[in-house]
Amino acid sequence: MAPVSIQNVRKAFGALEVISDFNLDVQDGEFVALVGPSGCGKSTILRMLAGLEPVTSGNFAIDGKSVNNLAPKDRDIAMVFQNYALYPNKTVAANMGFPLRMRGLSRAEIDDKVNEVAHVLGLENLLGRYPRHLSGGQRQRVAMGRAIVRNPKVFLFDEPLSNLDAKLRVKMRAEIKELHQRLKTTTIYVTHDQVEAMTMADKIVVMRDGKLEQTGRPLELYDAPENRFVAGFIGSPAMNFLEGEVARREDRVCFSVGGEMVVSLGEKFAPLISQAVTLGIRPEHISIHDEPVPDATQMYLGVVEPTGAETTFILKSGDAELVVVKQGRFPFTPGTSLWVSFPTDKLHVFDTTGNAVAVNS
């Protein structure tokens, strides 16, 4: 276990800068998820920390010591790759024992540790098999076993669940989280799947185009995104965004989309009058009614997606489209008129640059 510090890190491939001035502190034993769309630089950060990619400038420190000039083998890290990177010509036991063999441990010590970890991960019966004879989930488990067996200071995971099917992914997600709770080893986990990040991490780092967009606990990011990108990236289905203007109508502060759809905002949004803004609201925060209610906007139902426990509605009005998620089952059919209202305390307002606008309650 060890804290990790990333300071002013920059990475460029020739003239192309892919990471610019990246800073991050990971506490001892913390589980941090780096999330962002493909190509945002999250894997590059991980690979630089592992020593697999040279650093253009800046500093990586593990347990207070700079590791920039250390070879990967000297950084006391373990990494799990997306494609598992198991040695195809070695058995499961040899794969898991390889890092220990490289450390010069005796055969008996290696066997003991491998058996111990195999027991924890339920791999006892697979130790004599080759990777080609394992399923995706088993390979993933072996890759984790190989990382755990050497008891490193830091675990690095590079999209380890991306190659698994949806069901297995959920199962492995829980296993990795449980493992972290048991071992309490500092973990940095790269994923493009925000659900993985939300469910597993103590802290999430959202990245875009090589820059850090926001860092925080999962629910902090969910409840108080600092910009439109984070608001749209965190949460599934994604937050609804409506482009429009804040205006005063009939003595009420409203948000209007092209003069057609009008949403009552409340007096606290008065400072934003005449400003073009983006209104954001999460699908589960929108209220729907099958008859007119005060301050509600009429929309018609486009698509209904029942999933059993909850129902997703896609509502339309002119160019505006809203995704609404509600618990339970509803008798509405496509084409039905519904009325939607937005609780003002759940609204997010972003200015034209995409930054969240702080509004005093």
Binding site: A78, M79, F81
Partner: protein, 278 residues
Amino acid sequence: MTPQVSAIAIRVFWFVLTCALAAVVFFPYYWMFVSSVESASIFQWPPNLWPKEFSLDAYFTIFEQRDLATWLRNTFVVAGCTALFCAIISINAAYALSRFKTRTTGLFTSIILFSQLLPAALIVVPLFVIFQQTGLYDSLVGLAIADTAFILPLSIWLLKGFFDQIPVEIEQQAMIDGCSRLGAFYRVTLPLALPGLVVVIAMGFISGWDEFFLARTLIAAQDNWVLSVGLTSFRGEYTVAWNEMMAAAVIFAMPALAFFMIVQRYLVAGLAAGAVKG
């Protein structure tokens, strides 16, 4: 015809066709062997497909009257060195072309492929001059170097295909697990490319073993002859010692055949694996 009868007929047809093709391929080797053990003339009609007067005299004669043992040893030296040089150079070159991508990698790869297009006859004269000036003329190692140069482009391309198929993450994992870059290469990558390496060694060995043109040009002293050159000595000005020449040819073919049989398991896997990007 019922479907079962039809299926059997198709199988019989393919079996007969395969046997016929095998017979066409193997007949020259069989005829070579028959000619080496038949003491009667091989030019009689109808030909003796089965030796009537079986005799191994030709085999004893060639070892007694010719320096066959030396030529055989020389051929082993040249084939062994060619295989060795080929393996060492192509491993390094192929790995570099596969893993270290720079702006000139594609150019180098194309140049190597282009060099394969040059026929030996085109460069044998400059090669002869260079070998004379550098003291490599009439030397077995020199001949192995020349043979290596001709088989190398194909070997590099083949091995590069193998390295390309091995995910770089496996090597990086080994580096994290405690290997240096070189250690990861030798401990992890190279064993995974073993089928390709066996193919390269086999190609190097065979090309050094049966090469004639360069051996005829770059070797002068009879003591340094290889078997392919030695075989020509059975053809005199007025006569050809067919039995002895065929006996020598059988001995010439044996090691290559044995080598193929030993490595054929890797060879098939290697050629197939190298052909398709997995």
